[in-house]
């Protein structure tokens, strides 16, 4: 088991090993939903919440079900099933008890099911043999990192809304280029901590 302070993992997964900017995971919703600050914030919160939840559940399932039966190779399919079920459950709860939140991110919730960052975090947690606390820190941190990245992106995109972007680059094109620049900028953090 890697012996890293959970707090270090938390900070690292926000800044130096950011899911979007260093692993380029979860790009589809990152590009699609980063047009407005309000919706990005909503989606970012939802991703953070789901990431935390699924990392915990997947950690338990992996260590207490899959390992005892020597079924580690099933983790891909099992993780996907638990993520899908968890998102469904969250959607139901949000729809019932948090109507305002539901109206602002209702249609994005199902999108999270297929957000690769979620599956990515669960798989990295296994590959890097994290302990429970480390895994939770990693899940929360990755979520916050994702939130930070999409918020920054939506801010930039609102700023350049009226800028003369060349026709072929409008929308996703310029977003990808900005993502690349943001990733370069985030390399500046790499001296602080390192987890991989």
């Amino acid at each position: 088991m890697a012996d890293i302070n959970p707090f270090v993992i938390l900070i690292a997964s926000i800044f130096t090993s950011n899911m979007i900017l260093s692993n380029f995971l979860g790009m589809c919703s990152f590009i699609a939903v980063s047009k407005e600050i309000k919706t990005s914030l909503g989606l970012g919160q939802a991703v953070t919440f789901v990431l935390t939840g699924t990392t915990i559940i997947n950690y338990l399932v992996y260590h207490y079900v899959l390992i005892p039966f020597n079924l580690e190779y099933l983790r891909f399919i099992v993780f996907i099933i638990t993520i899908a079920a968890f998102v469904q459950l969250v959607e139901m709860i949000v729809e019932r008890y948090l109507p305002t939140l539901y109206y602002s991110l209702g249609i994005f919730l199902p999108l999270i099911t297929v957000n690769c960052a979620i599956l990515g975090v669960s798989l990295f947690m296994v590959i890097r043999s994290y302990s429970f606390i480390q895994a939770v820190a990693f899940g929360v941190g990755s979520g916050l990192g994702w939130l930070l990245a999409i918020l920054a992106m939506s801010g930039i995109r609102q700023k350049i809304k009226n800028s003369p972007v060349p026709k072929g680059l409008q929308g996703p094109g310029i977003t990808l280029i900005i993502t690349g620049l943001m990733a370069l900028a985030f390399i500046g953090f790499s001296g602080i901590v390192k987890i991989q």
Partner: protein, 366 residues
């Protein structure tokens, strides 16, 4: 061997646990209790909350038209919701005009009944009824188009305007797990109130067309509801131009029957488009209409006649036939039925021939 069993067991175990959790959540969390829907400030419905407004209303025998069956892809199920629907959802936006949004018009298939609601729907929708019937005649008109006669067996009578449509229900069958309904134009005369005729084409992979073409046979029970639609024969004495392609023949046949039954004396010409000679049908009936009606001409056009067809009529698409054959004249009415691209290019050509947009009526299907 053991490994396989354990694998299967573990996977099924996990899946079952999650499914169970979701089912329990569905029962307890997604349970909204009884809600009240007030229709047109008059009628009051007590319903079980939680499902879409459309399916809730259908469950209470109020049939709002919906060609796509509640998937949010046709935009027909619009309905005025004055309170209780929450903000407009992103899935509705592409179907609601700005005027719709100002007037509280919503897509009833997308909003859920979660609170008490006040809605407005056109009175005529209350005339829409659900009918039970039996397939009396099912025959092939061409290799892709079937003719169905459905006799109503539950004692009700259907009254509709020539040109309107109804919704036919397909029960679940192997390959289709849900009950699904789709819109089809009525092809029979309005004087027959105990049966209706439909003309249904086969679409590869289409749920209802597959049901009709592969599973339904004479003597089978069917359910349908209707009538719907604002495409019907207008009360006027202008000359008429009718245009249809393939199964678009259905409402036109109903209109022609109506003219025959009521002795309407209007000059009419009917352009009918098909691919090759084997795709033409009901030619003897059209001859009959040409003989019996006051002044009616049937002009079939083939877009791709085969060599053996020996086709000496018009070759090309219907809009081209109109551009070639039709003379310019004012004050005519046009009745079009067919696919969206056909309608669009036909309307364009009709406008060049002196038609005005308010006199062009059409029934577009996708």
């Amino acid at each position: 061997m053991m490994t396989i069993l354990i694998t299967v067991g573990v996977i099924s175990g996990i899946a079952t646990t999650l499914a169970l959790l979701l089912t329990i959540a569905d029962v307890y969390i997604a349970n909204y209790g009884e809600k009240k829907i007030i229709i047109n400030d008059d009628k009051e419905l007590i319903v079980e909350g939680g499902s879409s407004l459309l399916s809730t209303l259908v469950g209470n025998n109020i049939f709002i038209p919906s060609a796509c069956g509640g998937k949010g892809s046709c935009g027909y199920c619009k309905c005025k919701v004055n309170s209780g629907a929450g903000p407009v959802l992103a899935t509705e936006l592409s179907y609601l005009t700005e005027e719709d949004q100002r007037n509280n018009v919503r897509l009833s298939c997308q909003i859920k009944v979660k609170e008490d609601m006040a809605i407005e729907i056109p009175e005529e929708l209350f005339n829409v009824k659900q009918f039970k019937g039996v397939v009396e005649i099912s025959k092939d008109l061409t290799d892709k188009i079937k003719f169905l006669r459905l006799r109503i067996t539950d004692g009700q009578e259907i009254s509709f305007k020539a040109g309107q449509y109804l919704q036919l229900t397909s029960p679940p069958y192997p390959g289709n797990k849900d009950e699904v309904y789709r819109a089809y134009s009525i092809a029979s005369s309005t004087k027959h109130k105990d049966y209706i005729d439909l003309i249904i084409g086969y679409v590869e992979g289409g749920i209802l067309t597959t049901y009709v073409h592969k599973h339904l046979s004479e003597g089978d029970d069917v359910t349908f509801n209707g009538p719907y639609g604002d495409f019907y024969l207008q009360n006027s004495d202008s000359d008429m131009v009718m245009v249809a392609v393939g199964t678009g023949m259905a409402p036109i046949r109903s209109i022609l029957q109506e003219m025959l039954d009521k002795g309407i004396e209007r000059k009419a010409v009917f352009f009918f488009g098909a691919r090759s000679k084997s795709d033409l049908f009901m030619l003897d009936e059209m001859e009959m209409f040409e003989r019996e009606l006051y002044d009616f001409k049937f002009i079939p056009t083939l877009s791709r006649p085969k060599d053996e067809d020996n086709w000496d009529g018009f070759t090309g698409r219907v809009p081209d036939a109109i551009a070639d054959y039709l003379e310019e004249a004012p004050n005519r009415e046009a009745y079009l039925c067919g696919s969206a691209p056909m309608i669009e290019s036909t309307v364009k050509n009709l406008l060049l021939k002196g038609f005005t947009e308010d006199k062009i009526f059409y029934d577009k299907f996708d």
